[in-house]
Amino acid sequence: MAFISSGYNPDKPMENRITDIGPRYYEEFYPPIIKKNKGKWLYHEILEPGIVVHVAESGDELYAIRVGGCRLMSVSHIREIMELADKYGDGYVRWTTRNNVEFMTDSKDKAMALKDDLLSRKQPGGCYKFPIGGTGASITNIVHTQGWIHCHTPATDASGTVKCTMDALFDQWENMKLPAKLRVSMACCLNMCGAVHCSDIAILGYHRKPPMIDAEYIDKMCEIPLAIAACPTAAIKPAKYETADGKKLNSVAVNEERCMFCGNCYTMCPSMPLADTEGDGIVLMAGGKISNRIDAPKFSKVVVAFIENEPPRWPTLTKTIKRIVDAYSADARKYERLGQWAERIGWEKFFEKCELEFTHHLIDDFRDPAYYTWRQSTNFKFT
């Protein structure tokens, strides 16, 4: 492996340097039919799950085929996408905000040929390379974070939990049988890279043990005041630590009762790790949405306070999600999102219908939002 220079000269880093040019101009990448009809689309229609036709005022038709992708994609996989885009879509392709790939073509025949081609491609273990679906009243791809594959703060894996959940919900991906769209999202820790806190169902990695303190190193590794200031509940204070040979070092102490395991201190200071095999796992949230349709956007609510990590296939997690989806599917009205259904029937009925255990962990006890979530009325249902 010989080092190949790109032309960059470390002795003169500013020589020929190009900076702040931003992304390529998006219009370069528009298929001609989109360039021509931009802003003049009349309507769209889902022809079958995953295949949508967009019709323009000019009468032009654009067929889009939606294919689920792992957000983690190899160069080889993307090259295969490119090969398909060259063959069926004149070399144009796009991704959706939910990590789906959309192939675009201007003819229905090409779209149908592409569909057959896509479905014929499988991975060695039998998984679809290019599952088609995710449109209309279905579950679309689960947006997610890095998890154990690449992140330093996760409480669970992301790609793995998503793979298992999508396997369990596959029928709802490739069919449009639900009362409304249902968006599942995944974040592997409370940082929530991506808006999982407003999803119909959110899978959230969560730690349950306060940080450990690597006292012999914290003084060298960290800005202690930053770690202290990072704590949202003021649970960290300065403390002295005495080594075996009598040396006094600056360290911190954690008021464990105040810790809500957010990991902010760890982000500020690597000498305060909190990951733990038994302590870590998943919080399941439900009932959020981002659309303003019919009613305002809503936060997801915690409906299961903890599910342990069960790699590699997380059976308790997937069974619980499937139970919620099935109960919602059976009981909700057409167009009703999961959270709208839960509010209509009442959360006490939600827990009954989804066969979820209600525990004290589900009563909010965090600062001002807590009070607004308690019931100040006698209007309730017996379950």
Binding site: S5, P10, G22, P23, D295, F299
Partner: protein, 440 residues
């Protein structure tokens, strides 16, 4: 058959089931790197994919991550765009001991030509792991895994050969992102791509050189359906809307009622919901009860409409957004870290969205940044600052007049912080003058 040096019995179980498997995909990339049919002179460890799977298997065994904090890596002159990453078992997995990420500023709307993708793939196959995220949660193309000496080389090739820049990371403006907007969607009320592009270009300095208290996100949604989730996760959220009447095609309405057109663009085709019932499915579900259907004509009382999109979503061929279009601007959304989740608050009900977007920049973005950079604490998002100092303060700095559209309901406590200049005579009074008329 390419051999794998690590046994991975746990993650191998993720190679079954219908959904596409990232494990199979990483194995495929490993095989491609081992066979190397094109004779690429790999600049990053050829074995990285198998070592990455090895690390993941170990995490599946331990139930814990094996990645460490980033440390300081980056490209010269930028503070953002690169995230350092190291494995905490470098002896076991030397090929991924250093495994840094680059964020590449995605073209708006995530449209690509295969020609451009090929340039990116070539670069990343040679100088990185051959693994990407398409895309990260903020929207960037993510190049996943390379070593420190390759960072400048990747950046040099990106900018010189591909005319493409890095995105944002750290306490700066994060790469702005948008929905597909008018490019393919008939609901979009403004050109999300153009607006997003121009704002990205205008604020390159803020994007690449962290000078903020914490991250700051712009997101652009073409309509209130909010497909890019701006209202839930961006410090400034631009959501398309309109002020005039929803355009109605009465013939198409009748076609929906008659069953010739499928409601909601055919999105409920997987189940028999019975014949379409406009009264039940549209009129009665209208949140403001501003619609009327007399069996032959649909009427909408525009002043009562809140533009929730439901009727338009259900009957896209009959109803279209109005023609007097622009966007609403909302501020302060964030996920729960640190102080609990916040949804964005409406600060501008309507603004026209027209190049060069100076009004948005000068009356919204820049005054808010000046305030937040002056007053925001380390790692305090804009939403938290608004909560801490009050929405009145936000109005002070932006100069917007308080209007009822900004709130859900007026306050239920009367503890109003009157300012001295709002009360006639001010706060300073003479106690001796007071005592002339009031005994001690």
């Amino acid at each position: 058959m390419v051999e794998f040096k690590h046994k991975t019995p746990k993650i191998d179980q993720l190679e079954t089931g219908p959904w596409t498997s990232f494990v199979s995909d990483i194995k495929r990339e490993h095989e491609s790197r081992m066979e190397n049919p094109k004779g690429i002179d790999f600049q990053f460890n050829q074995n990285c994919c198998e070592d990455l799977l090895g690390v993941l298997e170990l995490s599946y065994e331990h139930g814990r991550t094996h990645w460490k904090h980033g440390g300081i890596v980056g490209v010269f002159g930028y503070g953002g765009g690169v995230i350092g990453r190291y494995c905490d078992q470098p002896e076991m997995f030397p090929a991924v001991a250093h495994f840094h990420t680059l964020r590449v500023n995605q073209p708006m709307g995530h449209y690509y030509t295969t020609e451009y993708l090929e340039q990116l793939m070539d670069l990343w196959e040679r100088r990185g792991s051959g693994l990407t995220n398409m895309h990260g949660a903020t929207g960037d193309i993510i190049f996943l895994g390379t070593s420190t000496p390759q960072l400048e080389e990747v950046f040099f090739e990106l900018t010189h050969n591909i005319n493409q820049d890095l995105g944002g990371s750290g306490s700066n403006l994060r790469t702005p992102s948008d929905c597909m907007g008018q490019s393919m969607c008939e609901f979009a009320c403004y050109d999300t791509q153009e607006f997003c592009y121009q704002m990205t270009m205008e604020y390159q300095d803020e994007l690449h050189r962290p000078a903020f208290p914490y991250k700051f996100k712009f997101k652009f949604d073409g309509c209130p359906n909010c497909c890019v989730a701006s209202i839930a996760r961006s410090d400034l959220s631009f959501i398309g809307t309109w002020r005039d009447d929803i355009r109605i095609d009465q013939e198409a309405v009748k076609a929906y009622v008659g069953g010739e057109l499928k409601p909601n663009g055919g999105s409920h085709a997987g189940r028999d919901w019975g014949p379409f019932d406009i009264q039940k499915e549209v009129i009665d579900l209208c949140p403001t009860e501003c619609m009327r259907w007399d069996g032959s004509k649909l009427e909408i009382n525009t002043p009562e409409c809140t533009r929730c999109m439901h009727c338009i979503n259900v009957m896209p061929r009959a109803l279209r957004v109005g023609l007097d279009r622009g966007c609403s601007v909302l501020a302060g959304a964030k996920a729960p870290i640190l102080d609990g989740a916040q949804m964005a608050t409406l600060i501008v009900p309507f603004i026209k969205v027209e190049p060069p977007y100076d009004e948005v920049k000068e009356t919204i973005v820049e005054p808010i940044w000046d305030w937040w950079m002056e007053e925001g604490k380390n790692r305090e998002r804009l939403g938290e600052l608004i909560k801490r100092q009050g929405m009145q303060k936000l109005l002070d700095v932006t100069g917007f007049k308080a209007i009822p559209q900004m709130i859900q309901e007026p306050r239920s406590n009367p503890y109003v912080f009157w300012k001295e200049d709002e009360v006639p005579g001010g706060f300073k009074r003479d106690i001796n003058e007071f005592r002339k008329y009031h005994q001690r």
